[in-house]
Structures are given as structure tokens and as C-alpha cells.
């Protein structure tokens, strides 16, 4: 892992300081390293999301790669069209990467996403999931977890629906490559991006991305929360290849109880013991299912080796 981190030093920085993300934003950190890994020959399509703001209101730019902004539902369509246009104009190697929040993926962008996946367009779809419409004021999305507070599901009537399983929706489209990742496991994230760059066809990333103001967590806990989400098995690091082959990348040595993770966040402050039990049971059932479905292998994520 030390190698991964230090190898990133050699790549050009694609994000400028002075962008307008909140302190402790994990999405901006994730995109910083994804952009470095993708390199210069990339067009980034950004649907309406926090990143529309972070990337800079004109004439400023926070990213040193080409960026195309587009409306909420049309992200996948714009990216598909761009890719086709680039191929037509003689730069078929230019990567088209779509960056969308959970709203632009789980809810509003879903039809475009489904269409592009079905057509197997040659684009990388990156969903950074902060589990609500954070940019517009923390409204609930279908990625908002069960029993979480949002401004549209205020306490005590907290969100009653479980989170949508986007990975399995995408797996049902039989796309070449689906991966989940989080910045707390950098070598895993970077390796998956590099792997996706080698693959042709539709590639989908589901990236877990804590949001300190929206989640009511402390800004320095972003990485810790990401790590805990994996250690509790709430957000398993996995890959789905060809929509069939499930690979669990990381099997935690010791499972952290989900309560430790929930207690760090203000959005779960009205949680009752019954909720915690249900969340724990649900994630264990999910984990059992994944373990049965997967070819196991442990990702070598060793820093000082």
C-alpha cells in the first residue's frame, strides 16, 4: 500500500486547491485520486451533484482535465454521445468518465444509466454515494439507508426504506465490470480504477463517500467512517465481472459492530435499539449471501510490507 500511495506521487495532480468542497469531503478526495490515475486523456462528465459546484463556477476550474457539465437525468446519455463523437473524430482512446452522485445514479439518472449499460457503451460510470441529495440540502434519495435522518424524513419519522442495491441492479445488466470501493482502502481503489481502464465496455463504480455536514459526523472522521463501513460489512469491497462472477476483495479479520459506525453520525441520533438490531441482521444476511455467491480472495492491502 505504501507503494500505491507513493506511486501516486509520481502522477500529475489533477485537482487544484481552493475548490469549494466542504472540509473533510470524501468525494473530492476520491475524485482527486481517480483523476490522477485516469490521467490527461480523459473527459469527465459531471451530472448535477455536489461535484457540479466543486468543479468550479466559471471561469474557475478545480480540475485540470476536460469537464462537461450536464443535467441530472442525462449523464449517461451525454457520456455515450461524447464517446461516440470522440470515436468519430479520431480519438477513440480518450476515456469518457461519468461522475454522478447517488441521486444522479439511484434515482434521477437511473433510466439513462440502464440504457447505457444495456447498450454496453464504452464509458466508466462513477457513482460517489453520500447517501442523500447533499448539495440541495440533504433530501432523502433511494440510497439513503434505513433509519437515517434527512430533511425530507425528519426524526422521529426517519427513513423507513432500505437502501437500493445498485450493484445488483447493474449486475442484472451483465456489464463487463462493476466494482465497489472507498478511499479508506486506497490501493484497492487505485487498482480497481487501473483494472477498469484496461477493460472495454460499460464499467460501473459504486464509491462510498462520507459527507460530514450531511451525516452530522466530524470532518476528520471521513476516512474512519469509510473504513468502518467496510469493517462492519455494511459496504463490502467487491467486484462483479460480467454480471455473474462475484469477487469479495476484502474479508475483515474482525467484524466491527454496526452500532459503533452508527453512533459516530448525527443522522442516526434518533436510532432505537431495534433499528440497530435490524441493520445488523440485514447486513449479516447480505454478507452471507455475498459469501455464498463469491469466489473468495483476500486483497493484499499491506502498507509496510
Amino acid at each position: 500500500m505504501k507503494k500505491t500511495i507513493l506511486s501516486q506521487l509520481e502522477l500529475d495532480e489533477k485537482l487544484f486547491s481552493g475548490h469549494s468542497a466542504c472540509p473533510g469531503c470524501a468525494a473530492v478526495l476520491t475524485v482527486r485520486h481517480i483523476a490522477r490515475t485516469l490521467g490527461e486523456d480523459t473527459v469527465l462528465v459531471i451530472t448535477a451533484s455536489c461535484w457540479s459546484v466543486i468543479a468550479g463556477a466559471g471561469p474557475l476550474r478545480a480540475l485540470d482535465i476536460s469537464v462537461v457539465h450536464c443535467p441530472f437525468p442525462s449523464g449517461a446519455a451525454v457520456a455515450s454521445g461524447l464517446k461516440k463523437g470522440l470515436q468519430r473524430l479520431g480519438s477513440p482512446e480518450t476515456r469518457v468518465v461519468l461522475l454522478a452522485g447517488d441521486g444522479g445514479t439511484f434515482d434521477i439518472g437511473l433510466q439513462g444509466l440502464s440504457g447505457a449499460a444495456e447498450r454496453n457503451e464504452d464509458i466508466i460510470f462513477i457513482c460517489y454515494d453520500n447517501e442523500a441529495y447533499m448539495n440541495t440540502g440533504m433530501q432523502r434519495s433511494s440510497a439513503t439507508p434505513y433509519a437515517s435522518y434527512s430533511t425530507t424524513t425528519p426524526a422521529p419519522l426517519v427513513n423507513k426504506n432500505p437502501k437500493k442495491d445498485i450493484v445488483h441492479i447493474m449486475a442484472a445488466h451483465h456489464v463487463p465490470y462493476i466494482a465497489t470501493a472507498t478511499i479508506a482502502y486506497p490501493s484497492d481503489l487505485v487498482a480497481k480504477i487501473k483494472k477498469a481502464m484496461e477493460i472495454r465496455g460499460f464499467r460501473f463504480f459504486h464509491i462510498f463517500s462520507p459527507c460530514p455536514p450531511g451525516w452530522g459526523s466530524e470532518s476528520h472522521k471521513s476516512i474512519e467512517l469509510s473504513r468502518m463501513a467496510v469493517e462492519t460489512r455494511l459496504f463490502p469491497l467487491m467486484e462483479v465481472i460480467g454480471g455473474r462472477e462475484v469477487v469479495l476483495n476484502y474479508l475483515p479479520e474482525k467484524y466491527t459492530p454496526v452500532e459503533d459506525y452508527l453512533r459516530l453520525q448525527g443522522r442516526f441520533s434518533s436510532l432505537e435499539p431495534g433499528h440497530v438490531m435490524m441493520i445488523q441482521e440485514n447486513l449479516e444476511r447480505n454478507w452471507d449471501y455475498l459469501q455464498r455467491a463469491s469466489k473468495r480472495y483476500r486483497y493484499e492491502d499491506e502498507y509496510w510490507s
Partner: protein, 566 residues
């Protein structure tokens, strides 16, 4: 499908914003500022030498042995000796022990020591003088007489010699080494290691005079007359008695004498004793003597101590060694008198009420009885040898310079007309301690003498400036670290792998985590060091939370100027 040509003949351009967001100085959002500060690791805090363990661990990780030795030398000139004979206080509170298994620091220290001995023998390391120092520039070359060749004397001699002073070491016994040769069992410290260290010292230019005892009066005056300074590192070997009848009977021995005769001359008279041997006392000397007796074949050895096991003064490892050797213990028992006609026949003892070490001792009246034995080894403690050298005018034990526990004592000049200094250090000042503290005493005495000779600040290039300042802070706790980046792994025999397990508590290891995890791209690597750009840092605190070494800390500062690294 081959890539089609640009059929339309136009360039495809996606415009970019004109100006990078660098014009937004987001630093003004910040209300907490990350500050990087070197802090003491628990190992460093616990080591009597204040040994910069994480510093040389970092060198070992890269298998840079000469780099590791150069760092080690500043704190401890004899890593082989301490690697073998120190009790390893550094290992007691290692933060890694909360994660999987504490580091085997002593083993690595020993490895550096053995490397030094090997390289030194081959003439590959330079011992004198230190590069940054030019002897004679600040004044005429100075000379120092060191009285006593124990660990304190040797370490003072090493540092003085290294920094350009002529050193002569005087030893009253025929062999140099002090307690290292006469007190520590060869199983713990192989004698050839000691001989090699002494050989290297001689090779470096320190001269040894053995078999000469320096006594009070003219003898000492003569020395002060011919040297610029006399350093008394005579140790604490003056025997103390219990003050009970019968202590001078034949058959009563002293523990230190017994060990010295055994290790130096191979004297085994006492061991062949077939009867019961009582060792009276509960310190390291008592348990060392008892273990040695058992190991050399004495049949029935008892340690008689007036308090319980938990109050024993000896180090835990010594107690375990004694128990393993088959020594038996008689706790809560105090000798009243030793009796016998012409030779020792037995000891009258009395039971005592259980008490802690700091409490007063109470006998249980009427519980006295007689223990028969053929020999008694007294280990009732020892005191500084300075009292013999200065019978009249020894100043009260006020340390001249104090730094943690290390103390040195400045004594009245014996020869005022020449203005030569007279200094005492080591066990002679602190009372019986351990090898690491003794070496620390020698080091401190050497620094003090150098500053007296050449002015304040001399030798800072070598010893480092604010080492003492760093040690004053509280040690880095496990909670301050972020150990997730280390794989769980037990101890390893390979030095590089074992050193790689070091969390480097309190010392930046240039891992790049702060740079990697900064969402604001406000950490920059410049000339090997990671710098925080305060113009852009929003103060989220991720760098401080994720810093594996606990070096970064979020602080409320009045202005950016305060954030300049301390």
C-alpha cells in the same frame, strides 16, 4: 475495428475554465490548524538513556546499518552491551503491544551493536574525531582521567574521546569493565562482547591503566595535577552491613564479592558448600548471587527477604530467572543475628508482618526461630564509593546538573591552583541502578565536561540540541496513532522486518498518508519533507486523524505564523 479518421475534419475541443481555483484562498475557513511536532515515543520515554529508538528504527527499515549506528551512537555508544545486559525498559509500554505484539527492541539494538563490533574490528567505522568537531580550535586539547571502568566510565570515555579529548581510564582491578565484568553473569553478557567493546575503545585512542587504585589524598591530587579534569565513576560498590551480631564470622560472604570472585577468578569455594546457603536481601545482587549459586551447582539455596515477592527490589526478569534456577524463597523474614563458635552455624530469624515497600516494617513478636545453615551471602545493598575518596568535604548529594534521573555531581577541586575539575557520575551519585542509567550518566558527564572546556553549545552537532526538550512532553499514546495501515504480524527474526513493525510513534516517517488523504491538496512534498499549505488547508483534520505516527495534531492557533513547525 480500426479507428476511423476524423471524417469531419474539425478539432474536437472541450473548453476549460480559464483560471484554476487556486485564487480561492480557502485557508480562511479553518479554525483548527494541523501542527507537526516531534513527540517522545513510550519506548524513548521509558529508556533511561532517552534512546531515540524510532530514529534508528527508520534507518533499519531501509537496512541502512551505518545510518542506524550513527543515530544510535548519539544516545548509546555500546548497543551490544545494553542489547545483552539491559532489562529492556523500552519494551514495557510499546504501543505495538496493544495492536498485536510489542517490538523486540533489545534484539534490534543488539544487532546494531554486533554490526558495530564487526565493522569496528575491520576498521570500517571511524570513532574519532567526530566530523563536525575540530579539536584544539576552541582551545588547547584537553585531557581527562576517568576513575573506574564500569559502564559510566566507559561511556564518558567514549564520548570525550569521540569529541576530541584525550582520555585515560584507571581501574583498580586487573581487568577493565567494572560491574560488567564482575557483576553481570556471563550468560547474560558474554565476556567476549565486553572484550571487543574494550578493544574498540583502545583502538579509538582511549588508554586503560588497570590494577591501580586511586585513593584519597595525594593519589587523587596527583591526578588532578596532571589532567584537566578527573571524572570519578567509582560506582556504588562499598558494602553495607546489616548491623547485627556475627556478620564477620567465617562463612559469611558478601554478594558482590562472591560474584566478582566467581566471574573474575573462577573462585568456587562457596559453591562446593554442601549445606544450606542463605542469601539475605531482595535486590538484583541478591537474586543474581542466588541464581549463580544454583546454576553453578549449590544444592540448597534460599533467599531470605523481609517483605513479600511483590516488594522485591530486583527486576522481574531476575526474579523469574532465580525461580527457574531453583532458588527457594523465604519471605516476610528478617535475620536477627548470625551465630557460631568459630564458623557460622545458623541464623536467628524473626517473621515480619506483611507490608508494602514504603511502609514501616513490624516484627511479629515471639515468632523468632533458628535456621541452620553453612553459609550466608549478604546482599544488604551497597553505597557510593565517593565517601572513601572524600571523607571530610563531600558535599551533600545535590546534583550539579540534572536531567531526568541522570545525575552528575560537581566536587570541590582537589587541586585549586591548576583549576582542574572534579566530577562524579553514574552509580557513585545515584546509588546502585542499571546499565542504561549508568551509560546515561557517563554521557551526561561527558557533555558537561565538554561544555565546561569549550563553552556552551559545544557538541550540539553531535548530541542534538533539543533532545531533552522533546522528552519532557507526555509520551504518544495508542489512541493518538492510526495503526490500520500496518498488517497484523507477530515478531520477526529478520531485523528489517522487525524494524518495519515499528509504529514510529511521535516521529514523522515520511509515509505520505497526510499528503494522500488531503482533500484540499494542501500538503506538498518539498525536499523530502511534507509541508502543509496553510493558504488552502480548510482544517478538516483528516491528516491528523490518519497520521500513523501521531505526529500531526489539530490546534487552535491565533495566526498562521504560530503554525511554523516547532
Amino acid at each position: 475495428m480500426p479507428a476511423p479518421d476524423n471524417v469531419l475534419g474539425i478539432d474536437f475541443v472541450i473548453s476549460r475554465g480559464l483560471e484554476p481555483t487556486l485564487v480561492n484562498h480557502t485557508g480562511f475557513w479553518r479554525f483548527l490548524t494541523p501542527v507537526r511536532e516531534e513527540k517522545p515515543a513510550p519506548c524513548r520515554q521509558d529508556c533511561p538513556l532517552g534512546n531515540g529508538i524510532p530514529h534508528w528504527m527508520q534507518k533499519l527499515q531501509e537496512e541502512d546499518w551505518s545510518g542506524a549506528w550513527n543515530v544510535m551512537e548519539r544516545y548509546n555508544p555500546f548497543p551490544a552491551l545494553t542489547g545483552y545486559a539491559c532489562y529492556g525498559y523500552c519494551q514495557e509500554n510499546c504501543n505495538r503491544s496493544f495492536y498485536d505484539e510489542g517490538l523486540d527492541i533489545r534484539e534490534l539494538e543488539k544487532a546494531i551493536g554486533l554490526w558495530k563490533l564487526e565493522q569496528g574490528k575491520a576498521g570500517k567505522i571511524q570513532f574519532r574525531p567526530f566530523e563536525g568537531i575540530q579539536p584544539g580550535v576552541q582551545g588547547a586539547a584537553k585531557s581527562v582521567a576517568v576513575i573506574g571502568s564500569g559502564p559510566t566510565g566507559l561511556s564518558a570515555a567514549y564520548y570525550l574521546n569521540r569529541l576530541g579529548v584525550n582520555v585515560q581510564v584507571f581501574e583498580k582491578l586487573p581487568a577493565a569493565g567494572g560491574l560488567l565484568a564482575t557483576g553481570i553473569p556471563p550468560e547474560r553478557l558474554p565476556r567476549e562482547i565486553l572484550q571487543q567493546e574494550l578493544g574498540l575503545l583502545q583502538q579509538a585512542g582511549v588508554s586503560f591503566v588497570t590494577g591501580i587504585e586511586v585513593a584519597a589524598g595525594d593519589n587523587l591530587k596527583m591526578l588532578t595535577d596532571s589532567f584537566d579534569a578527573v571524572l570519578l565513576t567509582v560506582g556504588a560498590q562499598k558494602r553495607r552491613f546489616l548491623g547485627i551480631p556475627g556478620e564477620r564470622l567465617p562463612g559469611v560472604y558478601n554478594a558482590l564479592d562472591f560474584l566478582r570472585n566467581l566471574y573474575l577468578d573462577g573462585e568456587r569455594g562457596l559453591i562446593q558448600n554442601k549445606g544450606r546457603v542463605l542469601v539475605i536481601g531482595g535486590g538484583n545482587a541478591a537474586l543474581d548471587a542466588a541464581s549463580a549459586l544454583r546454576r553453578q551447582g549449590a544444592a540448597d539455596v534460599w533467599v531470605v527477604y523481609r517483605r513479600g515477592r511483590e516488594a522485591l527490589l530486583a527486576h522481574e526478569s531476575e526474579i523469574r530467572a532465580a525461580e527457574a534456577a531453583g532458588v527457594r524463597f523465604l519471605f516476610h523474614t528478617r535475620p536477627l543475628s548470625l551465630y557460631g563458635e568459630s564458623a557460622l552455624e545458623g541464623v536467628r530469624v524473626i517473621k515480619t508482618r506483611p507490608s508494602r515497600r514504603e511502609e514501616e516494617l513490624h516484627d511479629l513478636t515471639g515468632s523468632d526461630y533458628t535456621l541452620s545453615c553453612t553459609a550466608v551471602v549478604l546482599a544488604a545493598g551497597s553505597e557510593s564509593g565517593l565517601n572513601d575518596l572524600f571523607p571530610q568535604n563531600l558535599p551533600p548529594m545535590q546534583p550539579g546538573v540534572e536531567e531526568n534521573l541522570f545525575q552528575i555531581l560537581e566536587l570541590p577541586a582537589v587541586c585549586p591552583e591548576r583549576g582542574s575539575l572534579c566530577l562524579a557520575a553514574g552509580d557513585a551519585v545515584t546509588g546502585p541502578q542499571n546499565i542504561a542509567l549508568a551509560i546515561a550518566g557517563g554521557r551526561l558527564a561527558a557533555r558537561h565536561l565538554l561544555e565546561r572546556f569549550y563553552g556552551k553549545g559545544y557538541g550540539h552537532d553531535f548530541f542534538g540540541k533539543d533532545e531533552a526538550q522533546i522528552l519532557k512532553a507526555p509520551p504518544v499514546s495508542y489512541e493518538q496513532l492510526a495503526p490500520h495501515y500496518y498488517p497484523h504480524r507477530g515478531r520477526s527474526d529478520v531485523p528489517r522486518e522487525e524494524a518495519a513493525r515499528c509504529f514510529s510513534c511521535g516521529l514523522c516517517s515520511h509515509c505520505g498518508i497526510c499528503w494522500f488523504f488531503c482533500p484540499d491538496v494542501a500538503v506538498e512534498k518539498e525536499s523530502g519533507e511534507y509541508e502543509i499549505l496553510l493558504d488552502y488547508c480548510k482544517g478538516c483534520g483528516i491528516c491528523a486523524a490518519e497520521c500513523p505516527a501521531g505526529v500531526l495534531e489539530m490546534k487552535e492557533l491565533k495566526s498562521d505564523a504560530d503554525a511554523v513547525e516547532r
